[in-house]
């Protein structure tokens, strides 16, 4: 591990309120628009089950709005905070998140057959959300340091060994989607860190050979069933296939312009399950149509491109790789969630960033944006000649 040098130049010292000229306002505005769209969809998806007053914390819309405000605060706070604090303690954070992933398997809550949450009073905490960020930080730290040259096969294998334990612990929860997100983050980071294609091909070959064993020993029946019904949702129309079938009908029946917010029968007659969480995109598809989906895609593309811009101009390797990891994280969560809703991926319970109802998801997404801002605010300070 590299020694750290304290002291030195102080270009931004004492400028607590400085650096706002480098702050990415586009990113903030886009994320704000996404949250607003999410609030509208949560309103539509929850109006059949919630009929209390609007300004009440039991109203999912109001609750989500409160979390959005908390999230904005967290983003601003984190952006003032040098991301090197995070990479410095990356291994400790990584260790803690491994511990929490083990602990959740032992004492977590089992919902719908998978053990993903701790319940602490009114809030639920999903350790894998935390573990994803910790893994990004550790990978960034590893490849920005002496000994972490991605061009070497040895370093590549070590980095894979960093990811595998987390992915495995998540996979046996079981949470296939999040496990895939872990590997996607790794792939994104090593690609940018300069991996050689030959090495990647070797690893891919090894992975292919191992696949039958994974299928035999590690894939649960429910996962097979979910993949099966994805191929043919009619196989079990009232069980596994139900959600897929209903989301297909919802999305498809929205056609180009949608049926109008709060007018979708699939949503309002409650054919859709969890319409404010995992299947919120189906609500959008049904009620706002292809046009609405394109607006959502445009917002996400702008946001992700702004994230890649951060990686582009980051002052150092650590910042760049952290930014890459976060972009891949957001991209994969978005992609998998929407892919589930349009029947391209088996049902897996990943929320749609910014949109899905759920405080911890929203706050952790804003925390990621805060880290991106932190990298951006300091890119000149760390730029080497």
């Amino acid at each position: 591990m590299a020694a750290l040098e304290w002291g030195g130049g102080a270009r931004t010292r004492g400028r607590l309120f400085g650096g706002w000229d480098r702050f990415d306002y586009v990113m903030v505005i886009v994320s704000f628009l996404l949250v607003l769209l999410g609030l509208a969809l949560i309103h539509s998806g929850s109006r059949q089950v919630y009929d209390g007053p609007f300004a009440s914390l039991s109203n999912p819309v109001a609750k989500q709005a409160v979390f959005a405000v908390i999230g904005l605060g967290v983003m601003l706070g984190v952006s003032r905070f040098d991301y090197h604090h995070l990479t410095h303690y990356a291994w400790i954070l990584y260790g803690l998140s491994m511990l929490s992933l083990v602990a959740v398997l032992a004492v977590g809550d089992t919902v719908g057959g998978s053990t993903r949450w701790f319940t602490m009073g009114p809030i639920q905490i999903q350790p894998s959300e935390f573990a994803k960020l910790a893994t990004i930080l550790v990978l960034a730290r590893f490849f920005s340091e002496h000994g972490g040259d991605a061009r070497e096969l040895r370093a590549l294998v070590v980095s894979l060994l960093i990811v595998i334990p987390c992915a495995f612990l998540v996979f046996i929860q079981p949470d296939l989607g999040t496990a895939i997100v872990f590997f996607a983050i790794w792939l994104g980071v090593v690609l940018v860190a300069g991996v050689s294609r030959r090495h990647l091909l070797i690893l891919a070959a090894v992975g292919l050979v191992a696949l039958p064993f994974v299928y035999t020993f590690a894939v649960a029946d429910y996962q097979v069933a979910r993949i099966g019904v994805l191929v043919d949702p009619n196989e079990d129309p009232l069980g596994e296939g139900y959600n897929i079938r209903q989301s297909q009908i919802a999305v498809g029946s929205g056609q180009i312009w949608g049926k109008g917010l709060t007018n979708g029968e699939q949503t309002q007659l409650r054919y859709l399950k969890v319409p404010t969480r995992d299947f919120i995109f189906s609500v959008l598809g049904e009620e706002l149509g292809f046009a609405g989906a394109m607006v959502l895609f445009a917002l996400f593309i702008v946001l992700l491109m702004r994230g890649i811009r951060v990686a582009q101009i980051a002052g150092d390797t650590a910042g760049q790789l952290v930014a890459v990891g976060i972009v891949v994280l957001l991209l994969m969560q978005t992609f998998i969630n929407i892919a589930v809703n349009v029947s391209l991926f088996p049902v897996t319970g990943i929320p749609l960033p910014f949109i899905s109802q759920g405080g911890s998801s929203l706050v952790s997404v804003f925390m990621s944006l805060g880290i991106l801002q932190s990298i951006l605010l300091r890119h000149r300070a760390y730029r080497q000649a």
Binding site: E5, L16, L191, Q248, G252, E265, T317
Partner: protein, 641 residues
Amino acid sequence: MSRLDDNWRASSGPARLRPHGNLFALRAAVVVAFLILGAQLFRMQVVDGEEYARRSRENHITQTTSLAPRGLIVDRNGVPLVRNTSVYVATVLPELLPESEQERYQIYLRLEKLVGVPALEIQAQVKEREAAKQGFIEIEFKKRLDKEQALRLAEAVVDIPGVGMAVRPGREYIATEFSHILGYVGKLDAAEYAALRKEEYAFDEVIGKAGIEARYEKDLRGERGVTSAEQDAQGRLIEAFDSTDAVPGNSVRLALDAGLQSYVSELLTDSLKALGNDELNGDARVAAAVVMDARTGAVLAIVSVPSYDNNIWSAGEARAAELQGLLDDEAGSPLLNKALSNAAPGSTFKLVTAAAALETGRITPATTRNVTSAKLELKGEDGQPFYLDDWRAHGLVDLYRGIAWSSNIYFFQASCGILGESRGLGKNTYDSATILAYYARQFGFDSPTGIDIGGEESGLIPDPAWKARVHKDGTPGDRDWYYGDTCNMGIGQGDVTATPLQVARMTAAVANGGKLLTPHVAAEIVGPDGKIVRKIEPEWKQVPVDPKYLADIRRGMHESVLDGAGALGAVPGIDVAGKTGTAQFIDYKSGDTFEHAWFTGFAPFDNPEIVVTVYFDRGVGGSKAAPVAARIIQYYWENVR
């Protein structure tokens, strides 16, 4: 925070302080990811959108449930008391009818000929449905087709578009004397539907509404079969999915003996007519009898006369007038189960008084009273003369003779005491009443017995607290508890009421040495495969009376039948013990006084097997009820035992 900016810097790491990665791949990944999603969305929403929109409109997966055959109810020997039948319903589905109103009317006319529903009525129903945009919901325009109509319609529907015949499960009860026990089934009402949401009743499913049908609903119902399918708006099957078969309900085997029940029912009906020597009462209008196993509480017969045909509930409009007739018959009130309805128990209650007096030590079996006159004059609480009446001058009676000849004055002495001469059960008249009420409740009075057919009244045991409560708006004179109240209670008169079943249950407790049994009509639940799913086990609680006192009471009852007021309860060759009761009551309509006739007994005396309680609303216990009980015991002995 910012203070530390610039201070964090990797000290070494030669070539990689400057970012060097190629971010093009990442940008490409973002674009490709959304292109994939966009392409799929385009396919679903734009290319196939029309098709999905149609499926959404016509929504989609329908579950058809096949109802399980309901379990049967059989008597102790397996004789079925109810049959499952099919009910044929004529239906029309508006959206499948021809477009032109003229063609439609031709169909309505044909239906009028086939099943007798006026064409205009069908037309009105169809128009109403279509106006409500519910043309896809079937109309049941005739609910119960008779066999001939069903056959004709079944032939005709083949070539009439939109007209159909549905077959629904029905329930047919074989004889009227079981109506009060079995209850009936009917469609769920809104309240039941709300209460039973978790049980997932189908909207056209029937549910037990009373009696055994209601109490054992969970056993009888079985499990629905489910077929799921995707249908279009015309009801055409697009695709059928997996289905599960219905599981028939369990049967309930009763402890009841169908032969005995029918015999008792006929016997009571035939015995309603006034006896020649009873000029006071005239014909009895209603009667009830309970035959119960004295050891287990299993009910062998429980009869209420007059009864009614419980098929009437499912017949709907066809028998509405008849049902109204039953509801209007106040004197006979056939819908009411008289075995579970309140009446003054009269002298049968003296068994409780005897138990209380013996257990508290107020009397011993040797305590005597010389009843020299049928009228005993006392000086009342207010100084006015007060009379205690007996039904005759018994002479010197002890406990046994007191029970055997049902001496009122003996039991006044044992309960309220003879004013100015001896105290009652307690140190004053309040205490005496409270003590007696306590024992009465221990013998199961003043609360439902818990029999498994429901609909029972709880009777009433008055006491000073009760009187103060019900008359709280009255004058102090109304609220007070008097010496006379305690005396009335001691002989089962005044405000005391009890159901024949409560009296039978109390008698069983006396006969079996103090076990207060919970009566039950069902004996066991039998699965469709004939295996016993569960047995209804006897339940009881102990009455706090020394068994030796109960033996003394049994001896008194024995003497009653041997050579006392209950002599007509005797059966040749069987040693019967019993207690008569003749309770005076005032008909609140006419203001005239009549008597209820009671007999409650058990047999055989030395090893009680059954308890028989007979009740007529008008008559004298010893002459009207006792001989009926004797014939019931005889039938039991010869045909059931």
